[in-house]
Subunit: 332 residues, 2 copies
Amino acid sequence: MRTTIYDVAKKAEVSMSTVSMVMNNKGSISDATRKKVMKVLEELQFTSSRSSIVLKKRSAYTVGLLIPNLENPLFVEIARNVCQRGHELGLSVVICNTENDAEKEVQYITRLKEKNLDGLILAGGFENDAILQEVVGEGLPIVLIGQNIPSLGVDSVHVDDCLGGYQVTEHFLSLGHQTIAVFAENTRSSKERLHGYRQAIKDAGLEYNESLVFVCDSTVSSKQLAKQILGLINRPTAIFACNDLLAVGIMQGAKERGLRVPHDLSIIGFDNTILSRSIDPPLTSVDQPIEEMGRQGIDLLIERIEGKEKTKRQVILFPKVIFRNSTKTHPI
Amino acid sequence: MRTTIYDVAKKAEVSMSTVSMVMNNKGSISDATRKKVMKVLEELQFTSSRSSIVLKKRSAYTVGLLIPNLENPLFVEIARNVCQRGHELGLSVVICNTENDAEKEVQYITRLKEKNLDGLILAGGFENDAILQEVVGEGLPIVLIGQNIPSLGVDSVHVDDCLGGYQVTEHFLSLGHQTIAVFAENTRSSKERLHGYRQAIKDAGLEYNESLVFVCDSTVSSKQLAKQILGLINRPTAIFACNDLLAVGIMQGAKERGLRVPHDLSIIGFDNTILSRSIDPPLTSVDQPIEEMGRQGIDLLIERIEGKEKTKRQVILFPKVIFRNSTKTHPI
DNA sequence: GTGAAAGCGCTAACAA
DNA sequence: TTGTTAGCGCTTTCAC
């Protein structure tokens, strides 16, 4: 049978409440008693049962982290940082890999609620917006990492995706590229990046050409797609991939077409993940300050949980293009 | 205030115990009562509080998954599959990223124990063997994934690392390579792989040369090391990297030395992660059946939790070399 | 077939 | 400063 606070009390010859107070640094306890209790606590290697505390306090010191896809190193990195920061602050972080499945999203949220979780962090896309709305309605604190859903009215921390897209496009343009394709996912952040692209194109006095925008959803499909469009007569000379995963696929597709990067084709990715550093040639990619995002995400959430904040806050971080060797001047 | 089983009981005009029995399919309930209760359950969208169940039953339907390093896609993949299988079976899986830190290992395990966890899965290395021994002594079910620690006497599921190392080396030898270096981590599985290498070298009638074995621990250090040893006069013509992460570093080091893979240097990795498919040239790597490992890991653990099994079991899976383009015949 | 009641391990209000 | 006690929400005997 598990050791309980009662066993400690008995051994230390005090009451349960005294032990509880010692453990939680509450009330006023005489030094002698405190020492006595501490000693027994140590001897018995006592750690209290979480579930009874949760039951009593109606708080599990737990936050759920919903991730759409652990295949993308970006999300792994976000998870790592959120867990890290949570751990520092004594919070449990439960990682839930929803795999972009609306069904799973509901299941995970339901399960988390059963556990009396204190808040939710959503990293990346979410399929089932209705349930989110419901959760928000119930007053459960939520923080968005890596995106903003204006209609939801919750805190968020993300880079200025639009600016990132703008910078990428601007760079391509400065290299003389005119036919710049975009590979985007069907997510809010991709749309923002695309928006930046469009803006840059317009600002350069060029025509925005929708047929250069391709929506796809994984390494595999971006590879197929890239292979296909790179076979066109008037093929793009530069491609902006809205994340590194897509960029990897594009590179593979280009290779199968016999095109060399960056000589025949320039590519820029987004997220600056380990992938951009592993592939050959190293991929120019837009960095998101993930550590900062993880830290701020948790911190925002905690303030919200503690009820300090009532207004909606948005932390917008700056993207930064990390130049590597996947782009080149376009021979005019 | 949260809806409780008592609210359900009141609304359905039955007792709490009846509701409980309906929810858990226990006892004998008349069809009429069952329907009545089900209806209210549905109306109230009732889900029961986990913590009270845990408190009462002393089981949280939770298993902890200790991962040494989320930077390695292998572990991410393992986590994904373990979570997946756990979810299917209604178990919560708590991912704990210990970052190879003995301190964190203890913290996580302590915290998990407070939560009444039912079992522990260890994927990959573990720094603090003493605490493991302690946990085993307490009777907490443990399963090892991707390694075996014979002294611990617990269930495990892993590939035949020795065989994998043997196959890799055999392949290099068949291509005519004689000077084959090994980059290993300081882990049990690396040691097994190295053991296979040694065996293959010996079986080929060659001398085992310890100075060709290098221990390192990340992409960065393998890159530095590779750069260094590839500058030697009598440099290796083939390198066996005990995981893909190391292989990536080696490739980068080789590149900085001006060596082309596979033309000037053959490389084989281990784990067949996404990295081996992303880099250029695609890396020949030894596949571990991760999905199988995740599934079997959870399943072994559950049987153990349910007390069905008493004997130690070891599931040994077969590694499989996936040939890509990172090796080439050695010009004699 | 159903309900009453005890109790899982803890916290916090109130007494002493 | 310390102890007593009433629950938190549920499961599970044991009566009926």
